[in-house]
Symmetry: C5
Subunit: 354 residues, 5 copies
Amino acid sequence: MPKSKKRSLKNINTPPGTVVYDGKKQDIKSTVSHSIYSADKIETTFIRNLDELAFLPEVVNWLNVDGLHETDLIEFIGQNFELHTLILEDIVDTHQRTKIEIYSDCIFTVVKQIRVKEQADDLLEIEHIGIVWKKGGVISFQELSEDAFTPLRSRLQHAQGRIRQRGNDYLYYALLDSIVDSYFVVLDWLSNRLDSLEDTIFSKPEQQHLQEIQRNRLALMHMRQAILPMRDALNKLIKDDLPLEFDSRTETYLRDVQDHIIQILETIDTYREINSSLKDIYFNGLSYRMNEIMKVLTIMSTIFIPLTFLAGVYGMNFKFMPELDWKYSYAIFWIINSIIIITLFIYFKRKKWL
Amino acid sequence: MPKSKKRSLKNINTPPGTVVYDGKKQDIKSTVSHSIYSADKIETTFIRNLDELAFLPEVVNWLNVDGLHETDLIEFIGQNFELHTLILEDIVDTHQRTKIEIYSDCIFTVVKQIRVKEQADDLLEIEHIGIVWKKGGVISFQELSEDAFTPLRSRLQHAQGRIRQRGNDYLYYALLDSIVDSYFVVLDWLSNRLDSLEDTIFSKPEQQHLQEIQRNRLALMHMRQAILPMRDALNKLIKDDLPLEFDSRTETYLRDVQDHIIQILETIDTYREINSSLKDIYFNGLSYRMNEIMKVLTIMSTIFIPLTFLAGVYGMNFKFMPELDWKYSYAIFWIINSIIIITLFIYFKRKKWL
Amino acid sequence: MPKSKKRSLKNINTPPGTVVYDGKKQDIKSTVSHSIYSADKIETTFIRNLDELAFLPEVVNWLNVDGLHETDLIEFIGQNFELHTLILEDIVDTHQRTKIEIYSDCIFTVVKQIRVKEQADDLLEIEHIGIVWKKGGVISFQELSEDAFTPLRSRLQHAQGRIRQRGNDYLYYALLDSIVDSYFVVLDWLSNRLDSLEDTIFSKPEQQHLQEIQRNRLALMHMRQAILPMRDALNKLIKDDLPLEFDSRTETYLRDVQDHIIQILETIDTYREINSSLKDIYFNGLSYRMNEIMKVLTIMSTIFIPLTFLAGVYGMNFKFMPELDWKYSYAIFWIINSIIIITLFIYFKRKKWL
Amino acid sequence: MPKSKKRSLKNINTPPGTVVYDGKKQDIKSTVSHSIYSADKIETTFIRNLDELAFLPEVVNWLNVDGLHETDLIEFIGQNFELHTLILEDIVDTHQRTKIEIYSDCIFTVVKQIRVKEQADDLLEIEHIGIVWKKGGVISFQELSEDAFTPLRSRLQHAQGRIRQRGNDYLYYALLDSIVDSYFVVLDWLSNRLDSLEDTIFSKPEQQHLQEIQRNRLALMHMRQAILPMRDALNKLIKDDLPLEFDSRTETYLRDVQDHIIQILETIDTYREINSSLKDIYFNGLSYRMNEIMKVLTIMSTIFIPLTFLAGVYGMNFKFMPELDWKYSYAIFWIINSIIIITLFIYFKRKKWL
Amino acid sequence: MPKSKKRSLKNINTPPGTVVYDGKKQDIKSTVSHSIYSADKIETTFIRNLDELAFLPEVVNWLNVDGLHETDLIEFIGQNFELHTLILEDIVDTHQRTKIEIYSDCIFTVVKQIRVKEQADDLLEIEHIGIVWKKGGVISFQELSEDAFTPLRSRLQHAQGRIRQRGNDYLYYALLDSIVDSYFVVLDWLSNRLDSLEDTIFSKPEQQHLQEIQRNRLALMHMRQAILPMRDALNKLIKDDLPLEFDSRTETYLRDVQDHIIQILETIDTYREINSSLKDIYFNGLSYRMNEIMKVLTIMSTIFIPLTFLAGVYGMNFKFMPELDWKYSYAIFWIINSIIIITLFIYFKRKKWL
């Protein structure tokens, strides 16, 4: 069974707003990339000298940070762009749940990238991602070095779709959309896993199957917990007064993302039902096999017990047992046995045990 | 067990608003039909030359597209009638859930036609249908070539009912109503299936019955998921400010559709209860049979075990066993056996095992 | 198990507002009665000539129709009193759920009379009743010929209570109240049924008891579905602007009816709990009996298996078996047997198996 | 199992507002007491002459009626104090659920006093109590002769607490508070009952324990049903416009009562969880014992079956069986037996069956 | 199983507002400490002379009381700072649930400190803590002598974080935050406990494991009950008009606390799921072992029953049994036996029982 996700105790009993990374240890150095683009050009640079860190005017700015474990870096970026310390705390707190918060000068979003990564203790890898949309640009913070936005980058590069024509609001939407899209890949993998597990359980239920079912249950539960808050959070973007404005065309797209979220949540519910019905099938398999075992025992016992008794009777040493001296006793003994066997056989057939 | 409906991965990582069909492969060409009618005449033409595509004035216009796999066609119609790209995306996205969306110039509806189609992996076929009601006419998009609106067409043809007297709003309502009506056919089939399954399980529970129960469970769940969003969506039509107006007489009919939806959802709940009680009956059947098996084993063993012991005793070869030499020992042996059998028989009768 | 209530397919694919009766076939002709009363007189006539059908002024008018299968009659009454076609459709649609609808000139109510009628497939008979309260009088439509309002009629006749002093609003309330009162009779019968079923299951669980439990479950579910919508519907009468006015004294009585509904729903919930606990008791009975059976088998086997082995040992034909020649071997054999039996007996006593 | 509480059918089919007592038969005569008090004096008289029944001015008036079965008396009091007939109906209708109703001239409250009274069919005795707070005084109606307000009376008598300084509103509050306090006594008893039941089930599960668990379940359910409506009802007192005014100091106390109610409801939920876990423990006990029984059977059978077979082999009468004539055959037979026994013993030890 | 928390009956039937301590007996004397601090200095004194008890101006005042059993002390403090008697009652009523109450001159908070303390009857120790924030300072009341605020105190001492720069509102927030932080420690312990319990159950399920599971269930339930009300209570602080004002910077921190609460509640839900899946694993272990036992019995019986019968046959004493005299009978007997054993062995292999 996957271990329950534990919150590291590192940032307990520290003052609130302290920037303490509590995710997995990372060996690789954090990297910062800065993409600027407009309809006609796009340029991405990896920033080494942090002093150059600033949004350029009149283009769309996308700053991306890979790796949250270098908290100095995060704090420096925070000071540079004047982010609230609680934003910084949430960016590195990988247990922070999904949310969208409206600050007076920016929109801060926590989302979870979900990848299939079958480990000893979990089926899914849930990556913590923070997105800040400020006047002038969007900053994304990724926990792991594996880039969550590769497909989006290639669309940007190839000037595919309408993204290069639009502003920062559309970039912000595109980041959310790209993460939501990735959930479908996980659902697809889960669907295949459930189907093949069912086939295996049905042909031969084994004790470890129950553990597989529990792993699915937890994976679906963690996935649901990571996605569910998004449904309501998106409402805020659609209904609240925001410090930054969405193009009216972008709003329709936000509603589309929300639609996908609801669809994903429904699919998760379906999978949970299927998974719980796997448990029924598993336990039914156990019961059915028990029935089979008992049937074999009962049939064998019921047939041979009277025969053995009969053999025992004629093994007795009483002096006066007339049958012992009859000539055809032994043949009659076998005839009687055959009759008993046939009778019981018919009886079991009728009972549908055979 | 029916496989869980998988979303094709084709339209993941494409820009939003991309028109990608993700349903089953279709061999037949898409067809477009245009029906125009008023109180005194009706005319339906199959359109081959797409340039002629336009709503005629002063009559009710109904444009129907069969087959969503030719996305070029869908896109052409979209441009022709100025539909939002997200509408087009939803029309061909067969996994889009049921919804009603109010755009500034049209009302867009996604509904699901449900048909009984017992396949290897599913009991029901859920067809994706998009309906756009614009000023001037109604356009319906059907995923499959089988026409979902046959009864409505014949009512139109025969000038039956009030439909020919009314406008586009009534046509829009009639399309919804016609789909909701078809759900009753599915419910009727399910009701028969549940009844006959129960009889079979009761007379002889087999291991595959559990799978049949799971198939029902999923079919009912998918049906519920397809219908449930409709209940709230209809509220929008009744309560919201719409860009197109319903005749006040039509509004009463919308409330009637909503009433039917609630009735269908209640029936689905009843069927889910019945289906889950089938599981109880199935498992009870297993337990009961186990009980029967054990009873047979126990009765046979309990009767013959002491008799066999007794026979064993007198099969011993001790030199000094006075009974062996008595004249009536053998007869007494049988008498004792009979007494044991009768006593146990009475005991089992009292225990109500016989 | 009671069959799930099926909607007849007759009125599918007909235009909405079509008056199609879908209940059980009725052999008896429909009858129409007209009662008029005031504080000092009451008169009830059976109407044969439908042209006379009209509300009289300055008295309370109660028109009652028994039997919904003559749709011509219903339609004639509908036209005569200018009822909306959807009201007529709902009056004869016996699957229409309980509701109260406020029309611009009348209040239309669908309620369900519930009677105990133990049939092959159901425990309860649910009768569809429509009540229209228009300016001038109240019209009630009953599906079955058995009068649902007998006690009310006798109260009217004997000028008992305050009903004769009051107007049409009180009559409308009295009809509702009279149906709600009848639910208590059904609950009383169900309570007795549950109690006696429990006694039976406890003394000897049989396989058909599970079916009885399922029948109760469905009956309680249908009853709940028939009554639940009433709770909210009554709120409309109390809170909404109505086209007809309730005497302020009558309003208090409406709240009283709502109170009764809530009380009935709570009792139904209690009965559902009791019924589901019957299932526990049933399955526990099965398990317990299984335990008993296995105990008997184990005790008998455990006692006789070593004895039989011992007898077998001394039935062996080895030449050199010193015990065979000893004088008291046989007596010692029985002594050893007795010791084994007593030891095991004590062991089982300690284990509390005896 | 406790019988489900049945509503007597006496007051069905009577006009609404009819005063029909439907509780248990009472042998004792109803009594009416009248307490008047102010800060400096208190006086309680038992009223025999009903004509004297009136509230005295400038003191707090508390009229208490014990016994609801003399409906004449209730009706007389009702007329005397001008109470609505529906109030009277609810006062004597012992199945009326808990509620607070705001009338134009009084506040009418139905509450339930709960006492532990272990009878054949129920664990708790639920007493119906009606409280009317009118301008001038408070009238309480108790179903049973056992006084629900004894502790309150003694506090009044001894001028303990602030009650003697306050008015009718505080008296009304004190009556409610006193009933809510009594629930804690019941919870305490239930807690002890659950604890001791668990110990018993754990040491030796018996079939009747399941019934005890069901009795707890129903008792907790009835208790919950009696208390739950109070939570919302108290909101009315706090938020609604009332015909009578609470001292602002008393309002804080009302919120305190509501707090207690929520605390009681939470405790009931905890007890329901504990009770349902008792069922798990019970069924686990059954399974575990079954396992034990089967283990004994299997160990005994598995050990002796091969031994008995071996003894049977050397009991055969074949002419040519070399072993029979060997000198140490018999000794070897026992050695082999010992080896078999030891081997199996080790096997069972490894399997952890011993 | 942990005993359900019982409310002491001491404060039933006492006037409301009576200060009665109902927690565990405490041997140690209560202590009162007074901390005053500003940005540049901090001073904590233990107060012995209660007359000195007062808030100092222009610094942050934190009065902390350890031990609620000396009710005189609590009452004295209450009078000194003019606290409502109901606040005092709630401070010493250790069963009072978590809440935040807005009084006209102060904000009163009840929270629960949770510590891991594995006792005979419970896994967690839930400490009752009352916090009053009045103009001028904050007073905290702790049930147990173990200080709940140690980490906060050390942060204060070392001028760590922003706490020394801020006012009473921030102190009030810091107290809440410090308690919420401590919940993570408990969750961490529970997570380890669940993991190790699972390993144990999986390797060898024992009857007492079910009890461990029930203990977890209750612990999680009590924890949830202690924390859940906090979620909504914090809303009051954020949205309501308060008699004392939060610094606008502090408000953001309050939302952060609420975030943590939601995260904790989600984790509790996950643990409840895991715990309930432990029950599945436990019961599955029982079933699986039963299957194993029955398999051994059946295999042994099925193999030896026919062999024993055969041996019995040739132990019969019939005069005319030709086989007895054949030379190779005995060898053939063993050959037949071997064939039977091998056949059955193959059969069981195919059935996958071996």
